[in-house]
């Protein structure tokens, strides 16, 4: 009976899979060919390509799109990251007061394992050479978002990855000297609040036909594109903090130096 059910289940699964593949391929066949204009969205594309540089002041039209025309999307994405970080803190964060009795031995074993991991000589040497370049590259991508490919999300992700390598190579204690839970909370909050207020101001003035006091700048220079550069920095900070926060919470269940935990050792 059980075997027959399993066979039936597998058969149905294969049929469902093939059906889904067929439906998706059929949908793909109806899409316009690669590089050709899509007749339904042609108005928006024309507007973006022809007036984008003038209206947003960004040479990289993708940055102009995601941080000017569709800045609300990006605001939502940053808040999704923030919410995800809060969820991970709730799920994986260690509350020492509540869990100490059951997991005492586990804590000690895990705490020792970071120190062992930090003694990797090859990783340390590679980190020593690579980390300055990685941070510089991340900052470059972040600040050049309106001029060249990249922007807030990519630059922030690279900086977050660099922080992760830093923590893996030199131990969490080194990162904890500058990057604590307070810093993470402060940076994330200030970035998100700045983004919300700046974009709210632009949308309010734009919708009511008021004059916008944000200078556009000369296209092609670093200080150009109006609000795109500060918004890029805000998004990048949120992304970098979230990435490092994820790693730290996954690895040891807390961001930054845990005083109560350390005192017990």
């Amino acid at each position: 009976m059980k075997k027959a059910f399993h066979r039936f289940y597998n058969l149905i699964a294969v049929i469902c899979c093939l059906l889904l593949i067929g439906v998706l391929l059929y949908a793909v066949s109806m899409l316009p060919h690669y590089g050709q204009e899509n007749p339904r969205s042609v108005e928006v594309v024309e507007r973006y390509v022809h007036d984008g540089l003038e209206e947003t002041g960004a040479t990289n039209i993708v940055a102009g799109m995601i941080l000017d025309y569709r800045a609300f999307d990006t605001l939502g994405e940053s808040h999704v990251l923030f919410t995800a970080l809060i969820c991970v803190i709730i799920l994986l964060g260690k509350d020492v007061k509540n869990m100490r009795r059951e997991y005492d031995g586990y804590y000690t074993v895990e705490y020792e394992s970071y120190h062992k991991l930090a003694d990797d000589k090859i990783l340390r040497l590679v980190g020593y050479i690579l980390l300055p370049c990685l941070f510089l590259f991340g900052i470059y991508i972040l600040l050049n978002g309106q001029l060249s490919p990249g922007g807030g999300f990519s630059g922030g992700a690279i900086m977050g990855a660099a922080l992760i390598i830093f923590a893996a190579a030199f131990g969490f204690e080194t990162v904890d000297k500058v990057f604590t839970e307070k810093v993470l909370k402060g940076v994330t909050f200030v970035s998100l609040a700045f983004y919300s207020f700046a974009k709210g101001y632009v949308f309010f003035t734009g919708a009511n036909g008021l004059e916008n006091h944000v200078p556009k700048g000369e296209p092609g220079m670093i200080l150009s594109g109006g609000l795109i550069l500060p918004l890029d920095i805000a998004v990048g900070m949120v992304v970098a903090c979230t990435m490092y926060g994820f790693y730290s919470l996954f690895r040891r269940g807390s961001i930054g130096h845990d005083h109560t935990f350390m005192d017990q050792q």
């Binding site: 490919p149 992760i164 996954f250």
Partner: protein, 96 residues
């Protein structure tokens, strides 16, 4: 057919191979590594499709951070693959 076209076809075949291999492998660690290589191939494909913005993000997030988080999770739940479990059972059986 130019060199770029051949390169693109090779990459697409590799992409499909990676996608199938993730499902077929029993070892979770190997699955994570194949997933990361899938992201790297996808990153080159984004460049070929002239969207460097996405390529940078894919390289940093897909191939870097999400893979690291998967590995962290595997370590946290002390994952074992199917073969290892069988071997352990056999060893336990021999002892008793």
């Amino acid at each position: 057919m130019g060199t770029t076209e051949i390169f693109r076809i090779v990459l697409l075949v590799l992409l499909i191979a990676c996608a199938v291999a993730v499902n077929l492998t029993k070892n979770l660690m190997q699955a994570v590594i194949i997933f990361m290589s899938y992201s790297s191939i996808m990153c080159i494909l984004w460049i070929l499709m002239q969207s460097p913005d996405l390529a940078i993000t894919e390289a940093a997030v897909g191939a870097g951070i999400s893979g690291t988080l998967f590995l962290m999770t595997l370590k946290k739940i002390e994952a074992e693959d199917a073969g290892e479990k069988k071997r352990k059972k056999k060893r336990a059986g021999k002892r008793s």
